[in-house]
Structure formats: structure tokens, C-alpha cells
């Protein structure tokens, strides 16, 4: 959409969004929870909470711990399962004043394909995010995103079930995220969400026990922003498909870092917990920034700070 003469639209595969601001999966419910506090017509898309093949009660409590500059969570993919979801929830998404992107999680390749096919078949769902990177479910949860082989298998499987855009959400808890990004693109992903939460834990020094019921959790918030910016930077050098940058975005300056690193869109998760007005403020701030810089479109700055990597061998500065 053009706002103040600036083209803010972004394309994820065949899906064109009016604004480059998405609401992160698991952080925004289905949108209705935040509707009294935020203008949903001023966001690009809501990414829904992940749904799995079978219903899940989720992890034991406590599921949240506040930490410096962010928080740990270990919700454990609590959801009603795809059948209940299709029957009771999905029809409500038709009324949202913004695009709705479904999110699929699973425990084997077949799970992903099964849920994706059913979800993507619904008109209310504009695109599907594939959550191969949840750090909070036992064993299998994150392993798909930690290895190019399984990543490719899942993405090929879901690709065969739908022609709707597929966004693959990558994990930062890997050695080489670029390698996994390349595999996801080769397997048919239309876009990549970079990054999911960073594994972490907190310990109660009075009780001598981990604070989270799940023991480990996923760290989000401003604390992980530099990790996320670097991940976007590295992925942008490895793929040609659009990147949705995410990790601790709270201000327009934060959002710009991700765009300049190579993201075409950004996603806000934990920032909504700080202030539900943050997405609208960032959108207005992006338009204002583009105006001040004389840009016709935000696309003009995507990746503009991505100057490659320093080759230490050729570095001619201080050798100390």
C-alpha cells in the first residue's frame, strides 16, 4: 500500500501484503485478542499460532520467565489439533482486516504435509508458515531446522500439498544458518522467517531448579536482536527469496536494521507484549524514514548494508 507517497507493499511468493509488518506466530493469538488494543488494518499479516496434527496440552508451568532485555518461553505448542481448528477456528479468520498466515508444526515429515494440506486448502489462509524450529517440544521439535537434510524433506513435502506461499521459519540454534536457508529455498520455500527463538534457560537459586516447567525455553526480545540481524545478514547472502526478519524488534530503527541487513519484511512478536501500539508506530516510522530519505519504496533499502564479510586475511588495519 502507498502511504504518504511511499510504496510499503511486500511480496512473499504470490502473496502481496500492503505493509511489511507481520505479527509473529504464537505472540498474537489469532488477532482477536489484540484487536481492542491495536489497529489490525494497519499490519501486513498475522501469523497464527502453530497447529499440529493432534491436540496438545502444552508444557507444564511456569511457561514464562522475564530475563534481561527479553523473556524465555516454553509454551510447548499448546493447540487444539488441526481437525478442531478447521471446524471451529478458521472460519473466524475471514473477518480479519489483514492477511492471515497459518502456521504448521509437527513431529515427522508426514505431520507437516498432512496439516499443511488441510490448512492451506482453506480460503481464509493466505499462506502457510512452516515452524520447523520450535525449541520447546521434546526431541524432534527443532531437529528439522538444525540440519539441511530434514529441512529439505519437510519443505518438499509441504510444497507438494499446496500452491499457496510457503514461509519456512528457521532456527538460530545452528552452526550454519545459510546452508539450511539454501536448502529450504531449493526445496521450494517462497520466503524465510529468520529467526525463531534462541535456546536458553534460567535457574531459581532459592529452589535449585530450572525456572521453566520445561527446563529449557526460547529467548526472545531485544536481547536476541543482534543475533537475529546477523542471521538475516547471512541468509540474505545465501538465498534470493524474501526474508521476514524477526527478533526483538521494538522500534523503527530496529526494523530498519533488519531491512538493511537483507529482510524484505519484518515480524513483531515479543514487542507486542511491551506495547500493542508498536506495530503501527513502526509502520508510520518506516514511511517517514522513506520520505526523509527520498525513497519511492522500502524495497530500495533492502540489503543495502549487506557489504559482505570481512576477510581477516586481507584486513589491513590494526594487526594487534
Amino acid at each position: 500500500m502507498v502511504m504518504g507517497g511511499i510504496d510499503l507493499s511486500v511480496r512473499l511468493g504470490s502473496l502481496e501484503l500492503p505493509y511489511p509488518t507481520l505479527m509473529g506466530s504464537g505472540c498474537y493469538g489469532s488477532g482477536e485478542e489484540f484487536a481492542p488494543f491495536a489497529d489490525l488494518s494497519k499490519i501486513g499479516a498475522i501469523v497464527l499460532k502453530s497447529v499440529t496434527r493432534e491436540p496438545r496440552l502444552g508444557n507444564p508451568t511456569p511457561r514464562l520467565v522475564q530475563t534481561p532485555g527479553g523473556m524465555l518461553n516454553a509454551i510447548g505448542l499448546q493447540n487444539p489439533g488441526i481437525d478442531w481448528y478447521l471446524e471451529h477456528d478458521v472460519a473466524k479468520f475471514a473477518n480479519r482486516p489483514c492477511a492471515v498466515i497459518g502456521s504448521v508444526a509437527g513431529f515427522c515429515v508426514d505431520d507437516y504435509a498432512y496439516v499443511c494440506e488441510k490448512l492451506a486448502a482453506r480460503d481464509e489462509i493466505a499462506a502457510v508458515e512452516i515452524n520447523i524450529s520450535c525449541p520447546n517440544v521434546a526431541s524432534e521439535g527443532e531437529t528439522f531446522a538444525c540440519d539441511p537434510g530434514p529441512t529439505g524433506k519437510v519443505v518438499r513435502a509441504v510444497r507438494s500439498t499446496t500452491s499457496k506461499p510457503i514461509v519456512v521459519k528457521l532456527s538460530p540454534n545452528v552452526t550454519d544458518i545459510a546452508e539450511i536457508a539454501r536448502e529450504a529455498q531449493a526445496a521450494g520455500a517462497d520466503a524465510l522467517a529468520v529467526i525463531n527463538t534462541v535456546r536458553g534457560m534460567a535457574i531459581d537459586v532459592d529452589r535449585w531448579r530450572p525456572r521453566l516447567g520445561n527446563v529449557t525455553g526460547g529467548l526472545s526480545g531485544p536481547a536476541i536482536r543482534p543475533i537475529a540481524v546477523l542471521a538475516v545478514y547471512e541468509v540474505a547472502r545465501a538465498v534470493t527469496i524474501p526474508i521476514v526478519g524477526q527478533g526483538g524488534i521494538e522500534t523503527v530503527s530496529d526494523a530498519l536494521e533488519f531491512l538493511l541487513a537483507g529482510a524484505s519484511a519484518i515480524s513483531i512478536g515479543t514487542g507486542n507484549f511491551t506495547d500493542p501500539r508498536i506495530p503501527e508506530r513502526i509502520l508510520a516510522g518506516l514511511a517517514e524514514y522513506a520520505t526523509q530519505r527520498g525513497l519511492a519504496s522500502l524495497r530500495d533499502i533492502v540489503g543495502k548494508a549487506n557489504v559482505g564479510v570481512l576477510d581477516a586475511g586481507n584486513y589491513e588495519g590494526d594487526q594487534g
Binding site: 504464537g26 493469538g29 485478542e33 511456569p62 511457561r63 522475564q66 534481561p68 511491551t274 500493542p276 501500539r277
Partner: protein
């Protein structure tokens, strides 16, 4: 001066006054007509951190007076430390009110209000609402020490009989406040058998568990306002759940017992609660 932030129900308020009735216990008086008009006893506000960088803080609405809303909190971490530094004239953004408060219509007969520590922040509006009923209202109030037993007189002014307890015995009964409740309920059983009675409680989880146990022993219905860390505060993240009887009227519609072979569901404390019937909790 209160302004509406964009199109949302997030409102700007102004700090009118700040009191510190005890060390690390702070009461902020806000000019907040939009919240004052609609807040019900037991509801909470999400307070936006003045400098960002952390999730908003859920604070029970302590008092409402005309256009004024009072928030009472303990300083116990960086977020409350930041709020404690606010002074008269400072701006503070909040959203809400949120959650389902206490149901006074369902609280029949004489009422025991049980508050532990900062739980006192969520029960003053109930004490006031129950005043004028043809019933006795007792405040069972426990704190670490006499200094932390803040605002007790406010409840006496609202017509509550005070039953005080401290961990160190510096005021009232020495020990958990639930010992007082238990003793009085036992006495009551002997002198006024079958007298209707209800409990409203807010405080730390161990206290609430004790209240639930005592309520069950004496066949008294108790409404408990649960304490938990929130992230979103509006039901979007499922971070603050508690196990609840699947047949409770407060149970979220999924996943039902037919799907899990169990009679327990996870309910969101911020959305379905924070007040639950003690006999419906499966904790």
C-alpha cells in the same frame, strides 16, 4: 490529561501522586478516567514500561476514586523498579482493564477476604462493593512483617473486620494468615452451623492452595485470584495457564476431555481468570 493512543484502547495516564506506605511498597495515583469508569473489582491493567525493552507489567487495580485509578505494587525486579521511579506529572501508558474479576453476586452470605502480601492490591474494590450488604466482611491479611501490612486501615474504613497475621509476629497472629482463617471457620462451624459463607482471596500461590484446602474442608466456596507471570496479558500467548476442570464454565472451548481422555484443560489466567473457583482448579 489523558489522551487516546491511536485507535486503540491503550491510554495515556498521568501520575498525580506517589506514596510509599512501606519500603519497596509503592502506590501510584493516576489520572485515568477511561480506566476508572469501567474497571471492575479484581481486574488488572497492563502497564507499558516507560522506556520499553520489557514486557508490560500486569498490576491489579487497587482503588478507583472519580477519575483516579490507584495501582499498588511491591518493588521486586527491574520492571517494578522502573515504575517506582515515577513521580507526579510523569506519563504512564496502560491498557485494559483486563481479566474477569471477583463475582460478588456468587459470593453469598458473610465474606472472608483473604489477602497475602501484594495480593492486597486486588481486593479493596471488593471490600467496598460488599459494604452495605447485610453481611459481615472480614479481611484476613498476612504479610512478612508489620511494616509490610500496608493499608489495613483502609479496609477497616470500608467496614471490614481485620484479622492480621505476620510471618515474624511483629503484628497480629504469628504465622500464615490461613491459620486464622482455618481457626475462625472451625469456630464458625460450631456456633453458626450452616451459615452461608464465601471466600475471596488473592496472594501468593502457597497461600491460595491453603485457602483452597481450608475452603474444601469447611464446604465453603472460594474465588481465588491467581498470581502468574504474564507476557501478553490478553490471551494471545498461552504463557500463563492453569489446569482447570474441563466442565468449568471458565474452561476454554478446547481441547475437551473427549480429545485427551482427561477432565482437565489449560485455562489462561489472564483471559479466563485471573479469578477461578477453588474447587474447579486442578493444580
Amino acid at each position: 490529561m489523558e489522551a487516546v493512543g491511536t485507535s486503540s484502547l491503550v491510554h495515556e495516564t498521568t501520575v498525580l501522586d506517589r506514596r510509599e506506605p512501606a519500603r519497596d511498597v509503592v502506590i501510584l495515583v493516576l489520572n485515568a478516567p477511561r480506566f476508572a469508569r469501567v474497571t471492575k473489582p479484581g481486574q488488572f491493567l497492563m502497564v507499558v514500561p516507560p522506556h520499553g525493552g520489557a514486557a508490560a507489567t500486569a498490576l491489579g487495580v487497587y482503588d478507583v476514586d472519580g477519575d483516579r485509578v490507584c495501582l499498588l505494587f511491591f518493588v521486586c525486579g527491574p520492571r517494578t523498579l522502573e515504575l517506582a521511579a515515577l513521580r507526579a506529572g510523569d506519563r504512564l501508558d496502560c491498557f485494559g482493564p483486563l481479566g474477569n474479576g471477583f463475582d460478588h453476586d456468587a459470593a453469598g452470605g458473610d465474606v472472608a477476604i483473604v489477602a497475602g502480601g501484594v495480593g492486597i492490591a486486588s481486593v479493596l474494590l471488593s471490600a467496598r462493593a460488599l459494604r452495605g450488604r447485610d453481611a459481615r466482611v472480614g479481611l484476613y491479611y498476612g504479610a512478612r512483617n508489620a511494616a509490610r501490612l500496608v493499608e489495613a486501615q483502609r479496609f477497616a474504613d470500608e467496614g471490614c473486620e481485620l484479622h492480621l497475621a505476620t510471618d515474624d509476629g511483629s503484628a497480629g497472629h504469628r504465622g500464615p494468615v490461613t491459620e486464622l482463617l482455618s481457626r475462625d471457620l472451625a469456630t464458625r462451624d460450631t456456633i453458626r452451623a450452616n451459615a452461608p459463607m464465601s471466600i475471596l482471596a488473592c496472594g501468593p500461590t502457597p497461600m491460595l492452595r491453603a485457602v483452597a484446602r481450608i475452603a474444601a474442608q469447611h464446604d465453603v466456596r472460594a474465588q481465588l485470584s491467581l498470581e502468574e507471570t504474564f507476557a501478553c496479558g490478553v490471551g494471545g500467548c498461552w504463557g500463563c495457564v492453569v489446569a482447570l476442570d474441563a466442565n468449568s464454565a471458565q474452561a476454554p472451548p478446547f481441547p475437551g476431555p473427549d480429545r485427551h481422555g482427561s477432565d482437565t484443560v489449560h485455562a489462561r489466567i489472564c483471559k479466563e481468570g485471573p479469578v477461578f473457583w477453588s474447587h474447579e482448579l486442578r493444580w
